[in-house]
C-alpha cells in the first residue's frame, strides 16, 4: 500500500467545505431558454385531433387518444395527442407540423416522479405546472407543410361571360400530384362529407398514380364523381386541416382529376360490374336525379332489379335541368347514366307517377320504392305584378336554357334571391348579353350561395343590391314588365336569437327599370304523385318527407332522399341519401328472406 492510499480517504473530507457545482433550485436559478424545447402543451380547443403530430413523430412517441368531454364532430376527430417521454427526443417536429398551431412546448425541463407511467400524459388535458408557461418552442415562421393550393386554370371572366363553355379547365397531371401531396391524410374531412367518401384514400391513389383504384374508392360511396368533381359544395374543404393556416386541399378538383383519367369504357371492368348477382327482387325509383341515380346504382350492385320512372325526357334532375353548362357540361351525365343502363337498370322517361303510372300500383308491383322527386315547384314571389309578362321563375328559365333556348331578356334582368339557383340565373343571364342586378333581402354575408359562385358572378359583372325587399312589379300598357319597386331594409335582432333579420324601411321606395324579373327565392316538392291512401300515411314536415336513419318514410317499404328530404339540398347529400336508402332497402328485403 502506498502513502497516497492511506491519506486519500481523509483528504476526501475537504469536499465538505467546497461549494457544490450542482444547482439545488434549477428552475429559478437556471430557467429554460426562451425557445427551449421542453414538455409539451396543447390548446385542446384549437386542436382538431388531426394526428399529423402522431404521423410525423419518428419515435412513435405520440398517440391520439379519446379525451373526456371531447366528442367527434364535424372538423374534429375528438381525439387529442398523448406524449410518451420515454420515447420523445424533443425534436419538435410535432410542433412544427401542427396544422392548427395548437401544439407547443414549454421551456420546462425538470420533472421528478417515481412513477414511470406519469411520463406519459395528454397535454392540455392533464394538468401540469408548465401549462401556463408563456416561453418555450412554438411553431416557427418556416413552413413544413405546403400551404398554397395549386391554382386551377379557369376561363377569364371577360371571356367566359360571352359563352357557356366550361369555366374550370381541370388539373394537369403535375398539378394534381402536387396538390395531392398537400394532403396529410388526417381523415377529418370524411365525417363532414355527407357521403363519408374515403377522401384520403382517393387522394393517395393520385399520389401512387393508381387511378383505377382511385375510381374504385370514389364509387364505393358516390356513383356520380364526374358531377361532384365539378359542382359539389365541397363541405370537406371547409374542415380540411391544411385550411387552418393555408388553402384547403382542392378535394373537389382532385376527385374530378381521377374521373377524367379513366376512360369511361373501362368503368365496368374496373368496378367489377361485369357480373352482378340477382336477388330476384325489384325496386322502383321515382325520379332520376342524383338521389335516384345513387339508389339505383347501389341497389343494382346489391343484386336488385331496378326500374327508374322519370317524368322528364332526360335524367339528372337539377344537375341536368338546373345547373348551367359552364359549370357542368352535359356529356358527363350521359356517361354515368350509360353505365347504369349497361348494368341492367331500366329507365322510363316522360313517365310521371300519379299520371302515367300510379303510385299505388308501384307499391303493389315492386318489393320496395325509393322516392327522389326533388324540389321542382318554385315558391311564388308573392308580390303585386308577379303575373306580368317578363316575370319568370329561375328553375323554368334554367331548364329552358339548358335545353338550348336563348330567350331575349331585354336590357336589364333583376334576379330575386341569394342562393345557388339565383347565382346560376344571374350568370346565365349575363351570358345572354344582358345587364344583371341581384336583389337580396339580407346582407352579402348571409347569402346561402357558394362564395365561389358569388365571386364568379361579381367578376362577370353582376351587380348586387343587398338589403333590398321587392314589393311590386310594374308593367307597361301591354302588360310587359317595365320596372320593379323595392324598399331598403334594416337588419334587426332575431327574436329566436339567430342571425339578424331584414325589415323594410318605410318610405324608402326605389324604382328600378327592368325588362325581365327572375324569381329564385326557393322551391318545394310536388306531392301530387301520391294516392289518397298513401298521402294519409306519409309524414311531411315543413315541406320535407320525414324519414328514419335508413331513409325509410312512414309508408312501409317506401324510402326517400334528395332535396325533398334533407335540408342541405345539394347533390352530394342526395347521393348519400340514395346510398343509405339502398342499404336500408337491402336490410329490409334481406330480412324477409
Amino acid at each position: 500500500m502506498k502513502i497516497k492510499d492511506i491519506i486519500t480517504p481523509f483528504s476526501a473530507w475537504s469536499n465538505i467545505v467546497v461549494k457544490p457545482v450542482t444547482i439545488k433550485d434549477p428552475l429559478n436559478e437556471r430557467p429554460g431558454a426562451e425557445r427551449y424545447r421542453g414538455f409539451h402543451k396543447n390548446d385542446i380547443e384549437a386542436c382538431i385531433g388531426c394526428g399529423t403530430c402522431e404521423v410525423i413523430c419518428e419515435n412513435a412517441a405520440i398517440d391520439l387518444v379519446p379525451v373526456e368531454g371531447k366528442d367527434a364532430s364535424s372538423g374534429d376527430s375528438g381525439l387529442r395527442p398523448m406524449v410518451d417521454y420515454g420515447r420523445c427526443c424533443w425534436c419538435a417536429l410535432c410542433v412544427d407540423v401542427c396544422t392548427t398551431k395548437s401544439l407547443t412546448m414549454s421551456n420546462e425541463y425538470t420533472w421528478v416522479s417515481t412513477e414511470g407511467d406519469d411520463f406519459r400524459y395528454t397535454p392540455g388535458v392533464d394538468d401540469k405546472a408548465w401549462n401556463n408557461n408563456e416561453l418555450g418552442w412554438k411553431k416557427p415562421d418556416y413552413e413544413l407543410l405546403p400551404l398554397s393550393r395549386e391554382v386551377m386554370d379557369e376561363e377569364h371572366a371577360s371571356e367566359r361571360v360571352g359563352s357557356f363553355i366550361e369555366i374550370v379547365k381541370g388539373y394537369s397531371l403535375k398539378q394534381a400530384e402536387k396538390e395531392a401531396d398537400r394532403c396529410v391524410s388526417c381523415g377529418i374531412c370524411i365525417a363532414t362529407c355527407p357521403a363519408h367518401m374515403d377522401i384520403p384514400g382517393y387522394i393517395r391513389a393520385i399520389r401512387e398514380k393508381d387511378y383505377e383504384q382511385g375510381l374504385r374508392i370514389l364509387y364505393e360511396t358516390n356513383p356520380l364523381p364526374e358531377i361532384c368533381g365539378r359542382v359539389c359544395t365541397h363541405r370537406c374543404e371547409e374542415v380540411c386541416s391544411i385550411g387552418y393556416q393555408g388553402d384547403a386541399v382542392a378535394i373537389r378538383w382532385l376527385k374530378r382529376f381521377i374521373a377524367d383519367q379513366v376512360p369511361f369504357d373501362q368503368y365496368k371492368r374496373i368496378l367489377g360490374l361485369d357480373s352482378l348477382k340477382e336477388s330476384g327482387k325489384n325496386v322502383a325509383i321515382i325520379g332520376a336525379g342524383p338521389a335516384g341515380i345513387s339508389a339505383a346504382y347501389y341497389l343494382r350492385t346489391l343484386g336488385y332489379g331496378v326500374h327508374i320512372f322519370e317524368a322528364k325526357e332526360k335524367p339528372g334532375g337539377m344537375t341536368m335541368y338546373g345547373i348551367p353548362k359552364y359549370r357542368l357540361p352535359i356529356e358527363q351525365l350521359d356517361a354515368e347514366i350509360g353505365l347504369l343502363e349497361e348494368m341492367g337498370v331500366t329507365i322510363s322517361y316522360n313517365t310521371k307517377v300519379g299520371k302515367d303510372v300510379m303510385f299505388n300500383d308501384l307499391r303493389q308491383k315492386f318489393d320496395a320504392l325509393f322516392v327522389g322527386i326533388g324540389f321542382e315547384v318554385p315558391y311564388q314571389m308573392a308580390i303585386t305584378g308577379e303575373e306580368f309578362k317578363g316575370s319568370i321563375q329561375a328553375i323554368d328559365f334554367l331548364r329552358r336554357v339548358n335545353q338550348g333556348e336563348r330567350p331575349d331578356l331585354g336590357h336589364r334582368v333583376v334576379v330575386i334571391g341569394g342562393g345557388n339557383v339565383a347565382m346560376d340565373a344571374a350568370r346565365v343571364s349575363r351570358r345572354l348579353g344582358t345587364e344583371v342586378v341581384v336583389l337580396y333581402r339580407r346582407r352579402i354575408e348571409d347569402m346561402p350561395a357558394d362564395p365561389e359562385e358569388i365571386e364568379g358572378a361579381e367578376h362577370e359583372g353582376v351587380k348586387f343590391f343587398t338589403q333590398t325587399i321587392p314589393v311590386q312589379i310594374n308593367a307597361d300598357e301591354r302588360g310587359n314588365v317595365k320596372s320593379i319597386t323595392y324598399l331598403k331594409a334594416e337588419m334587426v335582432d332575431d327574436p329566436k336569437g339567430g342571425r339578424p333579420r331584414p325589415v323594410a324601411i318605410e318610405g324608402s321606395q326605389t324604382i328600378l327599370e327592368v325588362s325581365t324579373i327572375i324569381g329564385a327565392i326557393g322551391q318545394e316538392a310536388d306531392y301530387g304523385f301520391l294516392d289518397s291512401e298513401s298521402a294519409k300515411m306519409l309524414t311531411v314536415e315543413r315541406g320535407r318527407m320525414k324519414v328514419d336513419k335508413s331513409n325509410q318514410t312512414d309508408i312501409p317499404g317506401v324510402f326517400a332522399g334528395g332535396d325533398a328530404v334533407n335540408k342541405t339540398a345539394d347533390a352530394i347529400s342526395a347521393i348519400a341519401d340514395g346510398y343509405r336508402a339502398a342499404k336500408g332497402i337491402d336490410k329490409m328485403l334481406g330480412s324477409n328472406d
Partner: protein, 151 residues
Amino acid sequence: MKPFENIEEIIKFAIDSEQEAYDFYTSLAHKTSSIQMKDIFLGYALEEAGHKKKLESIQQSRQFVAQSEKIQNLKIADYIVEIEPGPDMTYQEALIVAMKKEKAAFKLYSDLADLSTDNLLKSLFHTLAQEEAKHKLRFELEYDDIILKDN
C-alpha cells in the same frame, strides 16, 4: 260595429274572433286534399284554440296583465299579396293567409285602442293587439325561415 260599452263585451268579442279563426282553419283542414296541409291547418286551429283559452281565463278572473313589451314586426305581411283561402293552398299560401289574418286582428285592436278614451279599455285593446302581433310574428318568422330561406 256598435261601440263596446265595457270590458266584458271586448273580451267576448275577442273570444268569438278566436273561435271564428279556429273554425276557419278546421274547415280548411277538412277540405284540403293535401295531407301536409291538413296537419298544418289543424295545428293553426289548435293555436287559435289556445288563444281562446287564454282569453277565457281573463274573462273568468276578470283580470289581465297589461302588455307593455313591444312585439317585433318583420313587416312581411305588409308587402305580400292577398291570397284567397282555399283547400288547395300550398304551405306558402297558408302562411300568407295566416299572417294576414293576424295582421288584420292586430290592426283592429290597435285602432280600437286609439279610439278608446277610457284608459282601462285602451290598455286592454293594446294588450290584445300585442297578442295578435305575437301570433303574426310567429307566422312571419316561419315564412322568413322556410319560404324566404334563399332570400
